[in-house]
Structures are given as structure tokens and as C-alpha cells.
């Protein structure tokens, strides 16, 4: 599954970069985040309750950062286990650019979902992932004291 | 957590009392606790229809119904319905048309067909096909099952009986 998108956040680049690296900001931004710990400068562990429709699956996940260029971009590899519900694995690249009105955050993600969630949820995995990403950015922007600004073209919509 | 609930229900005409875990499905309760092997377990998601049983006069998926939900209800399986009426006619017709091979889907098919005949006695072949699309069969290819059901509909419309298949001794 691929998920690519762009969000315009009405906050300056250094604030956005700082926020993306701040455990407390991430804790409040990730929908369903129950626990989050920084194990090392490049490794974050988190427990997230994934809620969509009737599904309530607790995922224990690991995030590994690499190719970090401060105030600009980074790559991350992630994996999460949802116990009997299934698992997710993938990688993502995030880039920040100066834009009119704030910071443009572009992300590309490749993920595979396995186990029950993949089989059954497969129907709407992309739509669910997009919704989670949108929710994340709305909360993240709010944490920074700004907001997400609607973009002209709906990038990542299909 | 092994909290158990006391339940009481009528199964194939007999009063049954039990104490079971809330998560126990009706079909597992019937098969494992009451040894009624008529309904089968297929997908446990409600798609295949093998677990179909009757509760309070209507067909339901035994895998999408908890035994605790059947407290105070009337439950019927193919074993209890087999003596007469629509189900008996269907069984004769199934035999005539060779509509059963391994038998795994048959209990569900019979119960689903019986409800169709009761609710839509004028059903067309197309309607029969749509109605039983909730019951999967891996053996017969379905046509013989549809033929068998259509025969019962036709016979009933004409007020006729389905001729019993003569069995060799």
C-alpha cells in the first residue's frame, strides 16, 4: 500500500521540525497513542490503539529514523505488531519545504499490512491510512498552535 | 476471565439449562455442549452459511450469535426440524436431485431454503438463487440444489407432495 500526501501547516519550519521530533507533541498527535518512549536519538517505541469502525486493535510499534537532515527531511522505517489482529511494516520519507502560509510537509509511505487486519481490512486499508494521516496532521498542527490549511489540489486523494 | 452466565433455552423442543462463558457462540454451544452436529463451522465470519440455525422462528448465523443471546429463546437445528413439513419435503427433494455430496453445507442450505419457501412461496428460480447465495457449497455446483428447491416450490404451489425417494433396504 502506498500513501503519499502533502499538508500545509501554518507554522515556521523550525517549529514543525522540532514538533516532529518532540515525544510529547507526537504523543498528543498520534491518534490513539497510549505510550511513547524515545529509546535512542534514532529509535522511538510506541503503543497505539487503532480504532476504526468496530475495530479496536492495540499496536506495539517501533520507529527507526535515518538520513536525518535537520529542518529538512528524514526517512523512517516502522513496524508494529497488533497481536492477533495482524502487523504492519513499512517506510516513510518526510520532507519540509518553505511555502506561503507556513511549512509544506510532504510524505511518501510504503506499507504492508499483514495478518487478519490485512485480509479483512484490505478493502479499505488505503482509505483508513489516509484518514489516520489526516487526523495526525490536524492534531499535530493544533499542538504547534497553528492549523492545517486546505491545499488547492487534493494530493494523495487517489 | 472465566465469568460464566446461566442460560435457559428450548432446543429442538427440549428445555436446556447451562452455565457458559459469554463469548461462546451459539453454534459451538449446540455442537460441543449439546452434541448437535447438524450445523457446521466454516468461516466464523457469517459469510459461508454452514452454521445457519433457527432462533425464534428465523434463520441466523450460529457463529454471529452468542449462546447467552439465546437465553429464553426457541432454538431449532436440522435435527429438530427433520420430521415433517417444509424441511422433510426439501430433504426428499435434495435426495431426488442429488443435491448433497459431502453434506457440509446441507444443514444450512435446508434451513435457508425452508425459510424462503415459507416467506416467498412464489419465488422464481432467480430469487431462489439470490436467496441461497448466502450458503456456500464446494461440491455440487449449486444447480442440483436450486432444482431441488424449485421442485418443492412447484409441488407446494400445486398442492402436491414430494414423492419419497425409495431406498433400497
Amino acid at each position: 500500500m502506498e500513501l503519499n500526501g502533502e499538508q500545509l501547516i501554518s507554522a515556521p519550519i523550525p517549529d514543525v521540525w522540532k514538533g516532529l521530533n518532540d515525544i510529547d507533541v507526537l504523543a498528543k498527535s498520534i491518534p490513539g497513542c497510549e505510550e511513547i518512549n524515545r529509546i535512542s536519538p534514532d529509535e522511538i517505541h510506541a503503543k497505539v490503539m487503532f480504532k476504526i469502525g468496530p475495530v479496536r486493535a492495540r499496536f506495539a510499534g517501533k520507529l527507526l529514523l535515518s538520513d536525518v537532515v535537520p529542518d529538512q527531511s528524514c526517512s523512517m522505517a516502522f513496524e508494529g505488531s497488533g497481536g492477533a489482529a495482524g502487523f504492519a511494516k513499512g517506510k516513510s520519507r518526510v520532507e519540509l519545504k518553505q511555502a506561503e502560509g507556513g511549512t509544506l510537509v510532504s510524505y511518501t509511505t510504503e506499507a504492508s499490512i499483514g495478518g487478519k487486519l490485512g485480509q479483512i481490512g484490505g478493502r479499505l486499508i488505503s482509505a483508513s491510512a489516509k484518514k489516520i494521516a489526516d487526523d495526525f496532521f490536524q492534531r499535530f498542527a493544533k499542538e504547534l498552535g497553528g492549523e492545517t490549511v486546505a491545499l488547492e489540489s487534493d494530493a494523495g486523494g487517489k | 476471565m472465566t465469568v460464566k452466565k446461566k442460560i435457559s433455552m428450548t432446543v429442538n423442543g427440549r428445555l436446556v439449562n447451562a452455565e457458559i462463558e459469554p463469548r461462546r457462540h451459539l453454534v459451538d454451544f449446540l455442537r460441543e455442549d449439546l452434541h448437535l452436529k447438524g450445523p457446521h463451522l466454516g468461516c466464523e465470519q457469517g459469510a459461508c452459511g454452514a452454521c445457519t440455525v433457527k432462533v425464534d422462528g428465523q434463520i441466523i448465523r450460529g457463529c454471529l450469535f452468542l449462546a447467552v443471546q439465546a437465553d429464553g429463546s426457541v432454538v431449532e437445528t436440522v435435527e429438530g426440524l427433520t420430521k415433517s413439513g417444509v424441511l422433510a419435503d426439501l430433504q426428499e427433494s435434495f435426495m431426488r436431485h442429488n443435491a448433497m455430496q459431502c453434506g457440509f453445507c446441507s444443514s444450512g442450505m435446508l434451513l435457508a431454503a425452508a425459510e424462503l419457501i415459507e416467506k416467498q412461496p412464489k419465488a422464481s428460480r432467480e430469487q431462489v438463487r439470490e436467496w441461497i447465495s448466502g450458503n456456500y457449497c464446494r461440491c455440487t455446483g449449486y444447480h442440483s440444489i436450486v432444482d431441488a428447491i424449485v421442485d418443492v416450490l412447484d409441488a407446494r404451489a400445486k398442492g402436491q407432495k414430494i414423492k419419497a425417494v425409495l431406498a433400497n433396504a
Binding site: P54, G121, R123, A127, K158 | T52, R61, E130, S133
Partner: protein
């Protein structure tokens, strides 16, 4: 697969159910028909510690005419809607749609309220409730509130319902004698999730349709109304030319999203096919 263990309670009163829901938070789930929930629990995609069975609660039951509306309780099953004379008379779109929902055994237990509360984009009832301009009646710790269907469905599996609220019933304006409707669902097999579907309603006077409502389902994250196509058709003589224009507009205004079996382009195409069939049917 078998679900994880849980406790089971069956309150008789709405207030009791609301308290249990509020206290339980993320660890409890409501069960009505259970046709979606139990499948979910069977696969351990959720492991609540308590199920709150709401099927004994009187306020959630029954179909009745209240003033100028048809009131349908949240616990009414799909089969009850299919068989109801009141529905046949006052909201015939629902009677036409009901047989498309899964299969009979599921319809005998699954509920009107359950389908609306989950808001599955492929479900029939959310689309029908939009087209029929339903009002949702919701109860929570703060009492009763009402919200129209068009504001109720917000995003994928996301409705206006808060975690501590219960959908109690809906009210639908009674059908008037000029009303025509069209319901169709395209699916590979009968009972499958729709590839694309249309629930349409209008008032007809000769060749002219007014008050049009065209809601498509299984094409987006929520049911989607083709409002621009509606505006085009309202009050105009429905010629072949107008139908073609409406079809093009519907395909243009709705941003279909792909699902696991069908591309966005396929759904876009089918939106037009359904609308064309629907308009021709309604004006005939």
C-alpha cells in the same frame, strides 16, 4: 477463530446503558444485531472486556408514524424493514434496498441503527438515510440531540456519534404521492459489498423531476450526494441531452476512491451508469 473472553450485560433501560457506556470507555462495546461486531471479535480485531447488549431497550424499538415522519427505531432489523407495511407505504426506497443487504440470516439480526452507526461506505442504509433526508435522534449523558443525515456521516467509519452516545431512532419525512425512487447496487454476486450503488429520490411531474436526491455509495469514504447533478436536473425537462449532462456532472463532482477490488476509474464510470439508469427509471 474464537473471540477473547468478555463479560456480558443486558440493561433494560436506556439510562443504564448510557452509564455503562460512559464508565467503560474504550474497554466496552455495544452489541445490537452483532453481525458486524461478532465477526470483528471472532478475528480478535477488538478485545472488549464487556459487551453491553442493548436489545432489551424499548425506546430503540419499533416503526411508527409520528406527525409527518416515519420513525424507525435503531433496533429494527433489516428484515423488519423489508416486511413492514408502514415502510412500504411511507419509505418504499428502503423496502427496495433491504434485499440487497448481505443475506437473509444476516438481515434477520442486523439492525437499522447498527448500519447507520458504523457508517460503512458500502452500506445501503447510510446512503438511503441521506437520500431520504433523515434526522438522527441521539441520546447521551447530556440528553437528546438531533442531527440531519447530511451532517451525520463525517469520514470513513466516522459519524457524529460520540463514544458515550447511542443512536436511538431516525425520523424520515413521509413519502408524498409524486415521489419516485430508484435503488440499485452493482456487485459481483448478490449480497457482496457493492462495487457502486445509487439511492435516488425525486418528485415527478410529467417529464420533470424536482427535489432530487442522488446518493452514491461504495465510491468514497462516506455516502456521497451528487449535488451538482441534482441542481442540473431539478425543474428541467428530462431529455436525453440533460441526462447525459447530469451523468457527466456526477462523474466530475464525485472523487471516487479505489478499494481492494475496483479502481477509482471503474467506480467513476459506474457512477454515470447508475445515474443514467436511475434517471430513465424515475422519469418513465
Amino acid at each position: 477463530m474464537k473471540s477473547a473472553a468478555f463479560d456480558y450485560v443486558k440493561p433494560k433501560a436506556l439510562q443504564e446503558a448510557l452509564s455503562l457506556l460512559e464508565q467503560g470507555g474504550d474497554d466496552v462495546q455495544l452489541i445490537a444485531g452483532g453481525q458486524t461486531l461478532l465477526a470483528t471479535l471472532n478475528m480478535r480485531l477488538s478485545e472488549p472486556t464487556v459487551l453491553i447488549d442493548i436489545t432489551d431497550i424499548a425506546e430503540l424499538k419499533g416503526i411508527s408514524v409520528v406527525g409527518n415522519s416515519l420513525r424507525i427505531g435503531a433496533l429494527v432489523t433489516h428484515t423488519e424493514i423489508e416486511d413492514s407495511e408502514l415502510v412500504a407505504k411511507h419509505a418504499p426506497l428502503l423496502k427496495a434496498a433491504a434485499p440487497h443487504i448481505a443475506h437473509r440470516a444476516i438481515r434477520n439480526l442486523g439492525t437499522w441503527g447498527g448500519s447507520l452507526a458504523y457508517g460503512d461506505p458500502a452500506a445501503e442504509w447510510p446512503a438511503c438515510s441521506l437520500t431520504l433526508r433523515a434526522t438522527m435522534i441521539i441520546h447521551g449523558p447530556a440528553g437528546e440531540r438531533r442531527i440531519s443525515a447530511k451532517d451525520f456521516f463525517i469520514d470513513l467509519y466516522t459519524t457524529s456519534l460520540e463514544p458515550d452516545e447511542i443512536l436511538v431512532a431516525t425520523e424520515i419525512p413521509l413519502a408524498d404521492k409524486h415521489e419516485v425512487f430508484y435503488f440499485h447496487e452493482l456487485a459481483r454476486r448478490h449480497g457482496d459489498y457493492a462495487v457502486a450503488g445509487l439511492a435516488a429520490l425525486a418528485q415527478k411531474q410529467g417529464d420533470v423531476l424536482t427535489n432530487c436526491a442522488f446518493t452514491f455509495f461504495s465510491v468514497g469514504a462516506t455516502p456521497m450526494m451528487a449535488t451538482k447533478a441534482q441542481d442540473l436536473v431539478n425543474g428541467q425537462t428530462l431529455s436525453a441531452e440533460l441526462i447525459a449532462k447530469a451523468v457527466a456532472e456526477a462523474r466530475n463532482e464525485i472523487d471516487a476512491i479505489a478499494d481492494i477490488t475496483n479502481s477509482a476509474e471503474a467506480k467513476q464510470h459506474l457512477i454515470g451508469v447508475l445515474l443514467e439508469r436511475g434517471l430513465k427509471h424515475m422519469v418513465a
